[in-house]
Subunit: 421 residues, 2 copies
């Protein structure tokens, strides 16, 4: 079987094959540098070689599928990178990451020897943040952004450092030697442009009956931890008018934040993900409550502005209820704008092919975001997610939705590779 | 020191003494049948004997302080019981229960030999439900309401049965032998009337600058566990209009329930004590949420009606948000109305003494509730709780608030004991 003959059949065979590594029940758990991850990587490298490509691993465990004529390293020519990540969340699905990884591999095979820019498939070692509390370890290491200190500082839930995890997989051939000095990951390839095919992880394409989403932006976000402190009192003996109920304050803030995002309109979103009342009993008014809030928006400056607006709303509620409020920004990321020429190329191609598509923002982060922030023109293309389900065993995209997405990605890569760097 | 000389000084000395048993930091933990409970009981019995009273323990570990001329058992004459409970919650305070226990002991000492009805102090073994998941074990056993099967069925968090706990304290003299047959606790005394002095556990008396609360009713309650099931989706990738957010539904229900109780007006109260979102992360819309609701009202039929109204409100919110709802009544208790002649006697006495008082409902349950439901004319009298704090180390009542309460309780007991059964 050759990808030129039937890339869709190969796509399914590869997705099926990858899902074997880390399978548990109906889901997939393939954490970075785990046994399943290592086996999947080796299996993919073998498949790439079978398609006439070279498979090269860097020191972080990122994997590249490329024309054997292109020699990776300091003197390598600029390339078009097409790919995604291989790790999953715990009890995740078969498509998140894997779909783009397979598209990258097949694009590199289909375009070997073509174009002004050589197309290489890539697999980032880590994207989900599910094992190590450090996001986008793969894309950042691939781009040479990681410093040596981080290898020791970043540890998983069992205290295993990034360095130790790498040492373990290196013995199995799943990572190359670290470079000495402060920059352990010198880039093997110089990405001139970057493409990523991904499942939407949301319900919009399915709801609108579309085949493709051309992602113009990735939303930035702010996460806020709000601690409300009222008075824990007997729920029977304390009249309504004398209460300082921390959970009621949290509920009012959660609804105010929801209403605020609705009033702003799309693409603003805001979510209260948890409200942990203390002591959390039927017969005691909550004396304290931890409320988790997240706001996202795709326009520059808007996530920070929304966080400030949410804080204002929360302070108003807390003050009115006589409840003390502390608010901490836990994490944040500014919005990403993808390269206009790549968006335009994708729109033209979709129109030519008669594909029903829309431009859209992505609420979720992707590897391409890191490339874009590093100045590499990048683009994400979405295929539909059934029911918007993702990061769960029920993650699914119909074969007849994947096939045009794959063909589109390969053809888009062909066009993008025709322009020199 | 004799109680006739200075009952207030003895009250403080006894409260101070009791607080030693189970002290931890600034709080008190004296769970039913624990070592601290047993030591406190023995110490109290010793103090009662020093005041010229007999101290008798029944088979459940309830303790009575009575005129030695009154012989407990099947042939005992009817008595006026004055008292409360000796157990506390975990990290509780020094006044809840203890205050009424000491008042009962001192009333029995002060009234020994007086009246048509002999006054006996009593200490129920258990009221809080903090060790065993069975409420009012003390009052129910004292009234002969407990059947033998319950001794084996009721177990604490470590799996220790009520029977085994009793066996252990019996060897230390803190419980008498169980009666054979289906009724292990034949009453030692026949209560003709019952009085209980208690801290308010709420902020009303303090807020209104009053010395006493004469409790006319105890609120009944219903506890509802609401399970909301929406869709756990990516918080970034799911537009506001496509969400089925279980935590937002819970928040809206919590606020609707709060508003409903406010609209009903006092003495209605309603509380959302917890809202446990799943998965409970910043970046995932809550797919499910468990919400704990409690409603209370003092009028017959109103707790059940409020529960039905709350269910209606919750169903409306869930339906509007496309979230599934299951609702379970976890527990409930109907309201209690205390005996009008006792309320009238207390009001007359308070007016005669020039005490600032009010009649009020109790939101919290008390031992007296069990007596009232068993047909024994009963009454609870409240002294203020600083800041409404209770079931916490900060529980406090000023000495100058306790003293008139104690004197009032003893004098009320004197009057009530003058009428024969």
């Amino acid at each position: 079987m050759s990808p030129q003959d039937d890339p869709t059949a190969v796509l399914h065979e590869l997705l099926e094959g990858l899902a074997r590594f880390g399978r548990e029940g109906t889901g997939v758990t393939r954490l970075a540098y785990s046994d399943a991850w290592c086996e999947a990587q080796r299996w993919l490298a073998e498949r790439a070689r079978g398609l006439g490509l070279a498979a090269t691993t860097d020191a972080a465990g990122n994997l590249f599928f490329h024309d054997p004529a292109v020699v990776p390293g300091a003197g390598a020519p600029p390339v078009l990178l097409v790919g995604s990540h291989l790790d999953t969340v715990v009890s995740g699905g078969r498509y998140d990451g894997a779909c783009g990884v397979v598209a990258g591999l097949l694009a590199a095979a289909a375009l070997r020897g073509h174009g002004a820019l050589s197309a290489a498939g890539f697999v980032t070692c880590e994207e989900e943040g599910s094992r190590f509390p450090s996001p986008f370890m793969g894309a950042r290491s691939l781009l040479g952004q990681v410093e040596a200190g981080e290898l020791d500082a970043v540890r998983d839930g069992n205290g295993v450092s990034w360095r130790a995890a790498l040492d373990a997989v290196r013995t199995r051939g799943c990572a190359a030697l670290l470079a000495p000095g402060p920059r352990p990951f010198p880039p093997l390839f110089r990405p001139a442009r970057m493409l990523e095919l991904h499942i939407e992880q949301g319900p919009v394409l399915e709801a609108e009956g579309l085949a493709l989403g051309i992602v113009t932006h990735i939303a930035g976000f702010r996460r806020l931890r709000v601690r409300l402190t009222g008075e824990a009192r007997h729920a029977g003996a304390t009249p309504m008018r004398l209460r300082r109920d921390a959970l009621a304050a949290a509920a009012e803030i959660a609804l105010a934040v929801e209403a605020h995002a609705r009033a702003l309109g799309e693409p603003a979103v805001a979510t209260a993900g948890f409200a942990r009342a203390e002591p959390g009993l039927y017969n005691v008014i909550a004396g304290a409550c931890e409320l988790g809030l997240e706001v996202r928006h795709v326009e520059p400056g808007r996530p920070a502005a929304m966080a400030a607006e949410v804080e204002q709303l929360a302070r108003g509620v807390a003050e009115r209820r006589g409840v003390a409020l502390e608010i901490v920004e836990v994490s944040g990321q500014d919005p990403t704008t993808f390269a206009a020429p790549l968006v335009a190329a994708a729109e033209s191609l979709a129109k030519e092919r008669g594909l029903r598509f829309r431009t859209m923002a992505s609420g979720a982060g992707h590897d391409a975001m890191v490339f874009a922030h590093a100045g590499v023109p990048a683009l994400v293309v979405f295929v539909p997610s059934r029911g918007g389900i993702s990061h769960a065993p029920g993650e699914y995209t119909l074969p007849e939705q994947l096939a045009p997405g794959l063909a589109f990605a390969i053809e888009l890569a062909r066009r993008v590779s025709e322009e020199p760097a």
